[in-house]
């Protein structure tokens, strides 16, 4: 054993240490960024919530920041209704698509369809919004009435936008099931569809629920696309053809000019949104882990 050899091993070890430290540093940086953003939003927004009062802020129905009214309840209702609409429209389509891809589609079709779905995820949200404004909004206005800018328009756009997330995650969770489940069910004389409905879907339930929750998170957090098609009125909607404003669009549409309390109120809106999305993601994590 020469000294040289010892040196080489030490050198290797040192190299590993350096790599470890670099990665640790980078990981720390991303967590640090998250912490900074969180602290910044809290510091900016909390004073206003304290001033207005949590209850009045969340359940107040009047939003006129320049006159001192900071009620975001219409926006919460807006976010919830638009997201719910997107779920009602988008989830059944997504599930059918994922079942079709995982179970029925011939390989050649699947190989063409899957990238196409992924492509949907790559389209910038502003393009969805623009398309919605020029295509979906006039359709609603002409055939269903109202100004067209509406909960329905937003829900349709978001339903399309959550497709890639929900489809790919549920497809993966169906494909990840042990082959034995399917064989076992078929061997009992169940049809392919009965097998999917009664054995495979329940077995893939946790993955599918996680997919849906992530889809909801995507829908509730979307800003650019819906800002263009929702109409952004700050009033409690009376029907799905009424314009609404969501928490995200409230920030997006008023950020430009906001100063002082108004700006703080927008950060406070951000806090509420942040909490909602954290709860959603935590739920998704919990469901996936439980499996």
């Amino acid at each position: 054993m020469s000294e040289e050899a010892i040196e080489t091993t030490n050198g290797l070890k040192a190299k590993k240490d350096v790599a470890g430290r670099v990665f640790f540093g980078l990981a720390l940086a991303s967590i640090g960024a998250l912490a900074l953003i969180t602290i910044f939003i809290l510091v900016q927004g909390m004073p206003l919530i304290a001033k207005v009062g949590v209850f009045d802020f969340i359940f107040g129905t009047k939003w006129a920041p320049l006159q001192g009214y900071f009620g975001i309840f219409p926006m919460i209702v807006g976010s919830v209704t638009v997201t719910l609409g997107a779920v009602i429209l988008g989830i059944p389509i997504s599930l059918c698509c994922s079942i079709f891809l995982a179970e029925f589609a011939p390989a050649t079709f699947r190989n063409a369809f899957r990238p196409a779905i992924q492509l949907l995820a790559g389209i910038p949200s502003v393009v969805y919004g623009f398309w919605g404004l020029l295509f979906v909004v006039p359709l609603i206005r002409d055939y269903l009435g109202g100004p067209g800018l509406s909960i329905l328009a937003g829900a349709i756009i978001l339903a399309i936008m959550i497709l890639p997330t929900v489809i790919s995650i549920s497809e993966v969770s169906i494909l990840a099931l042990p082959r034995q489940y399917k064989e076992g069910a078929l061997a009992l004389g169940m049809t392919h569809w009965q097998t999917i409905r009664s054995v495979q879907l329940p077995a893939a339930k946790s993955g599918i629920v996680a997919a849906i929750i992530l889809g909801i998170g995507r829908a509730i957090g979307e800003t650019m696309a819906v800002i263009m098609v929702l109409g952004n009125a700050v009033a409690l909607p009376r029907s799905i053809l009424d314009p609404v404003r969501t928490l995200t669009t409230n920030i997006g549409i008023e950020m430009g000019y906001a100063t002082g309390d108004h700006q703080q109120a927008l950060f406070a809106t951000g806090i509420v949104l942040f909490l909602i999305i954290m709860v959603l993601n935590a739920t998704a994590q919990y469901i996936v882990r439980r499996k």
């Binding site: 006129a64 109202g146 109409g231 009125a233 009424d242 404003r245 997006g252 430009g256 000019y257």
Partner: protein
């Protein structure tokens, strides 16, 4: 060793970026503020750049209030405002570069030509909600407004609403262009935008029988107009002063007029020429 190399590299990158910023800063005037003024300031900046290729005028948005505070803090050399200055802001150096009429616009197919200011107010307060009540076709009025904090909304509230609140049910859009786009596509919509941005896709209403024309604003008959103001922290100097002088020159004012604004300096310059 590697870490040191990376650190040096990063440092070099930072220095490079900073020096880049610095050198650019030296020859540039930053103009920031009202998005209503922004497109006009951009036109001015382009023309100015043709005349003075060595200097750069950088025009940014952000809104009237943000523009004014940017001018105060020094983030911008010139702040743009599309609303009258508040009392606290009046001590800043400022100049009205032009006036902008506000046009109340409807779809070209809407048969109405004229509304009273009172009627406009009632529409925006949602006490009138059907075109039928105004002599048009029976249809719900789709009211479109700008967002809270916008200079255009602010001007509209001051000039047309007389302390009456705009209905929260109004559709809110965050730019003149978006309002115009919506009105041009919806025959039941009503909106308000800068007079200079009215084009053939929408119809500008007469108010109390007065058409929103250049002459009527100049003559004081059409009352829906607001000032476009440049604000500077102190007496303007250097490039900022040169750009403001250019804006107020005959050339600059003609340019703004050509873009649809109502010049403020025209009479004075005409007087000087004679």
């Amino acid at each position: 060793m590697k870490i040191r190399k990376i650190a040096i590299l990063l440092l070099a990158l930072c220095v490079g970026l900073l020096s880049g910023c610095g050198s650019r800063r030296g020859a540039a005037v930053i103009v920031a503020g009202s998005t209503s003024v922004q497109p006009y300031a951009e036109v001015l900046a382009e023309e100015y750049a043709l005349l003075h290729p060595e200097s750069v005028v950088d025009v940014q948005g952000g809104g009237s209030s943000a523009g004014i505070s940017a001018a105060v803090s020094g983030t911008a050399d010139i702040g743009m405002s599309s609303r009258a200055l508040h009392d606290s802001e009046l001590e800043l150096w400022n100049v009205v570069i032009a006036k902008d009429g506000l046009a109340v616009i409807i779809h070209p197919d809407n048969p109405l030509q004229n509304l009273t200011l009172e009627q406009v107010r009632c529409i925006y307060a949602a006490t009138i909600s059907n075109w039928g009540e105004l002599g048009g076709q029976e249809a719900e009025i789709h009211v479109i407004a700008r967002e809270e904090g916008s200079g255009t909304r602010n001007a509209f509230e001051d000039l047309a609403m007389a302390k009456v609140e705009i209905t929260p049910r109004a559709i809110v859009q965050d730019s003149n262009g978006a309002v115009r786009q919506l009105v041009s596509n919806d025959r039941n919509a009503i909106g308000f935008i800068s007079l200079g941005l009215v084009d053939h896709t929408v119809k500008a209403l007469e108010l109390d029988g007065v058409a929103p024309t250049w002459d009527n604003v100049m003559g004081g008959n059409y009352t829906l107009y607001r000032p476009f103001i440049f604000v500077v922290a102190g007496e303007p100097t250097g490039l900022a002063k040169q750009f403001i002088d250019y804006t107020l020159s005959t050339e600059g004012q003609q340019l703004l007029m050509h873009e649809g604004l109502i010049p403020t300096m025209m009479l004075a310059t005409e007087g000087a020429e004679q």
